[in-house]
């Protein structure tokens, strides 16, 4: 019975999270087109539904009924495997993201945490592990297509992902030093209080008269954001699918639902890195003011709302960058990753650990 309740609760939580993420992915495509249009003084999609709000549904139906083409000379097995290898890791990461307060409820004698699917003690490493697996979809898709553009896109992606994954890993170490844990829930809980306790400002880690001393992670935050944009292959780092050079990069030969899988994986990855950024640097579900404004049994609404606001602010930043910045050249991308971001991230680790050592003594 207890096992049944536990499994049932897990299935319900997974269904809700997957539903919300898929819905966000669908409407993110519309939001991107609308935001880009407004920034370029256009209307954007206007035909399907009022103000084009039903455009994602039309797009979905179109992709679903398109002919599924496997090019001659392609490796059929890897060609089919690549979109799946891309999509599954993008969704798996959401299992450890806390999107609401760390509450526990009793249900038929079983304790359930309603606002996170599972709180494992290596949460952030788990996400990093699966995000790095997502690169295989791109690389193998590019190779299996038996197309020069695809292969070039896949190779570019391989080099880019390795370079920028390293920076993501190093950027979060400062946060891990401050929170002393790899669990996403503990990291978020350590930033309780107000906006001053968020890791981006980092107050409240010293004892005695040094309580106010900020161990700011703003450098790590900037490094993380830039590397996350590169990791998700978004502009201005979209060299693996640069339209003006490589047709569509590794996706050139893909059509129909397989193409949709790659597309969904890209948007799901955007949401995932936004969730990580808000939990690690912006306090997750904590409000910028102390405590909550709603009565205690309703305060979870406030937490979920603040988390949503933070994630959507990051997603807006993705669109904003796309509308503003031109694409980098490949050598610029590599030089920037290894010679600017890597030293910044390493310096941040050294300074943070020295400051924390003296503050805690």
């Amino acid at each position: 019975m207890e096992m049944l309740v536990f499994a049932g609760a897990a299935v319900v939580k997974i269904a809700v999270v997957m539903g919300v993420v898929l819905l966000t992915v669908a409407f993110l495509t519309l939001a991107e087109r609308k935001v880009l249009s407004w920034m370029q003084d256009r209307m954007g999609p206007m035909e399907v539904g009022p103000y084009g709000t039903l455009q994602p549904i039309a797009d979905g139906i179109k992709l679903f009924f398109k002919e599924d083409i496997i090019p001659a000379g392609a490796n059929r097995f890897l060609f089919s495997l690549a979109p799946i290898l891309s999509l599954v890791p993008a969704f798996i990461g959401f299992a450890v993201v806390p999107y609401g307060p760390n509450r526990e409820i009793e249900l038929f004698g079983v304790t359930i945490k309603p606002f996170i699917i599972t709180d494992i003690n290596i949460g952030i490493l788990y996400i990093l592990a699966f995000v790095s697996i997502g690169a295989y979809g791109v690389i193998l898709g590019g190779w299996a297509s038996n197309n020069k553009y695809s292969l070039l896109g896949g190779l570019r992606s391989a080099a880019q992902v390795i370079s920028y994954e390293l920076n993501i890993g190093l950027a979060i170490i400062g946060v891990l030093i401050l929170s002393g844990s790899l669990s996403m829930v503990t990291i978020a809980e350590k930033q309780a209080g107000s906006i001053l306790n968020w890791n981006i400002i980092g107050m409240g880690h010293g004892g005695g008269i040094w309580w106010w001393f900020p161990v700011t992670q703003i450098v790590a935050f900037v490094v993380y954001i830039i590397s996350a944009v590169a990791e998700t292959n978004r502009l201005p780092f979209d060299l693996p699918e640069a339209e003006s050079e490589l047709v569509a990069g590794w996706m050139t030969e893909y059509s129909g639902m397989r193409f949709a899988f790659f597309f969904m994986a890209e948007y799901a990855n955007m949401i995932l890195v936004s969730c990580i950024a808000s939990v690690l640097f912006l306090g997750g579900y904590h409000a910028p003011y102390p405590g909550t404004r709603l009565p205690d049994n309703l305060s979870w609404i406030e937490g979920v709302a603040w988390f949503t606001v933070k994630v959507y602010a990051f997603l807006f930043l993705f669109f904003w960058l796309r509308a503003t910045l031109p694409r980098l050249r490949y050598d610029q991308l590599m030089r920037f990753g290894w010679k600017v971001m890597l030293p910044l991230a390493l310096g941040n680790i050294v300074i943070t650990s020295i400051v924390v050592y003296f503050l805690r003594d």
């Binding site: 890897l78 592990a129 690389i139 390795i162 994954e165 390293l166 790899l182």
Partner: protein, 170 residues
């Protein structure tokens, strides 16, 4: 339950490891190696070593194997028959290694329930903390030696890559 999952992971690890060397296409070998790394990570999880499992995926599957794939795709090797000449030597060495394994197992005997009791204390204290403490106290010297060796390898790689560039400037 525990031995059942061990049986699954062990079988897949052994099979995919054989496939890595048996498959003709280099890219297929890399895929087999990826499957093997995943199942090794799974084996770590069943032993309550979640930290090692995540590191296994991040370092080996996420970085090193991507580099392998990068090289294999860049060289675009169609089929590799070059190691066929060393077949006899390989078989000989393999037989020696197999004899060693058989001797060790028959001398020591297989434990009924492997390692399970010893890991419960590590799980209680927090896996990552235990690994960190062990690395920086008990095994500090080997740890530092290993990092020194890696540093030397890195400097060596840079020197070898720079040889051509510096030679031209002279």
């Amino acid at each position: 339950m525990g031995s059942l999952s061990f049986l699954y992971f062990g079988t897949v690890i052994a099979l995919s490891a054989i496939l890595v060397v048996a498959l003709r296409k280099p890219v297929s070998s890399v895929i087999a190696l990826l499957v093997m790394f995943f199942h090794i990570a799974g084996l770590f999880v069943t032993l309550h070593a979640e930290f090692l499992a995540a590191v296994q995926l991040i370092v080996y599957a996420g970085a090193i194997l991507v580099l392998y794939l990068f090289v294999v795709m860049l060289l675009n090797v169609k089929e590799d028959d070059s190691y066929q000449r060393q077949f006899r030597l390989g078989m000989g060495l393999g037989l020696v290694a197999l004899a060693e394994v058989v001797y060790i197992v028959s001398a020591a005997g297989l434990p009924e329930e492997p390692i399970r009791e010893r890991t419960t204390s590590a799980a209680a204290a927090g896996n990552t903390e235990m690994v960190g403490r062990a690395l920086y106290t008990t095994y500090l010297f080997p740890f530092e030696v290993a990092s020194l060796i890696l540093l030397v390898a890195m400097i060596g790689a840079i020197l070898m890559a720079k040889k051509g560039i510096m030679g031209e400037s002279k």
